[in-house]
Chain length 282, copies 2
């Protein structure tokens, strides 16, 4: 595996792949890799002629009082995992190169960013869209891989690709869970042992919601109340949002339909965790 | 010359050029072509392996009370001019294809768009940046050509290319003038004979400002007042702005420096005309 840390060298490497007719798969990450990331990496290794995994903690997607400074970093562990998987390039651009102080150009995806995480974190998706577009322009992949844990992010990136006529395919990977059900996330490193027990209530609440729906409960209000009760009875939890919504427009639903997204964000100790699942009226 | 009117066919044609190792030059226009556009076309023909001229009246860059509906269109004349010049492709995407109703993604260049035309026309540069980026992504040119008549637009596009790491070169063409000095513009078609005479005062005022500076006048305020007097004494004129500013940041200058831009926008009859020149302290 080659490690590339400048935009120029990345561009050069990509140019050579294209000349040789080899397709490129890109897995953009913020590092501190886990099995969720690696499932995307493996998908890329199966799909693409060569695979680039980028590791960049994107300062543009953090708000002022968020966890940019404490975001977990472990480049050695990331390198070992990517190398063992057979990735071709680990791309680790510097902050000053990818996100220089004088940057003036930003990409905004409207409407669908007014809900869920976009509502709680108003800088988030502008930052994601801008840096992801920059990575696309540098790496020039034919495929880019994103996980469904960040469901709304995926929608933002798919919209960006369509609207800006980008010539690449977005490939979705499923949300991956720890053995106790907790959605895999680099931010799980923030959790103390006690927090971790409390955090389990998030996936448990989603599971119970699914069972409720299977038993014929279709009221969004009632299902939401059930999830809320389940999580609030745990210590150290503070719910940011619980939304039952359309999985494309993110508009709230009054009742479970043919395809409804249950998405939620919960602060547990120092971590803000998100989770989601798709449900349907049987 | 081939005329291409779909994004898919344009993409296909570009792909073939790249496969054959031929570079592409793109001249994006809103049509109603004049010698100013054609000087950019000729620059592209000299520089690029093949030349694409796009004609698209971009609805995103017009404000609500602006001239989108009356903007001059003459595709037959445009086609004849481009074909005679030896252009390879005239790209005329439809409004519904390039700018579909559900479009949610927009590109915003900040700071430098707060001045001059960006101040008077708040939708302008967001619309320009978004559609120009889409054209770049579809045509994938190595070179793109823009005229210095739209000096601020050029700065916006150069900033966009740098900030988003686009792999192409922006080539500037000089502002072209009619024999009486009027800056060439498709919007000159709006002028009646009387307006046309009044409009001449814009370039005359710039010429006199240059002479004033040569004679040692460096006060931005005094030079601006001179330009204003020159234009205001003509009938049917209404000044939008006259700015003496830095040619990169567009911040106002108090005095002429090593490189100062004089930029102005003036309503003459139904037309809003812009002009500019670069001046320096001798």
């Amino acid at each position: 595996m080659i490690i590339i840390d400048t935009i120029e060298k990345m561009r050069e490497w990509s140019g050579k792949q294209h000349q040789q007719g080899r397709s490129i798969g890109l897995v953009p990450t913020m590092g501190r890799l886990h099995a969720g990331h690696m499932s995307l990496v493996n998908k890329s290794l199966e799909t693409s002629g060569s695979t680039v995994a980028s590791v960049f903690v994107n300062p543009l997607q953090f708000g002022e009082n968020e966890d940019l400074d404490s975001y977990p970093v472990d480049l050695d562990s990331d390198e070992a995992m990517l190398s063992a998987a057979g990735v071709d390039v680990m791309f680790i651009p510097t902050k000053s190169a990818l996100c220089p102080k004088g940057i003036k150009t930003f990409v905004q995806v409207e409407e669908i960013t007014e809900y869920l995480c976009g509502k709680s974190r108003p800088d988030l998706f502008r930052g994601v869209a801008t840096i992801v577009l920059k990575l696309f322009n540098i790496v020039k992949p034919q495929y880019a891989f994103f996980g469904e844990k960040d469901w709304q992010q995926l929608a933002v990136i798919e919209t960006l690709v369509t609207d800006l006529n980008l010539d690449l395919e977005i490939v979705r990977g499923p949300l991956m869970r720890e053995s106790d059900g907790l959605a895999m996330s680099s931010r799980n490193h923030y959790l103390t042992e006690l927090d971790r027990q409390a955090a389990q209530s998030i996936s448990t609440a989603l599971k119970e919601a699914k069972e409720q729906i299977k038993s014929g409960e279709h009221s969004a209000e009632k299902i939401q109340a059930g999830i809320r009760r389940n999580i609030e009875k745990q210590p150290n939890t503070r719910i940011d949002y619980i939304s039952l919504c359309d999985p494309v427009s993110f508009q709230e639903c009054a009742a479970i339909g043919d395809s409804t997204l249950i998405a939620l964000a919960v602060h547990v100790g120092k971590a803000r965790l998100i989770d989601n699942c798709l449900v349907r009226r049987d």
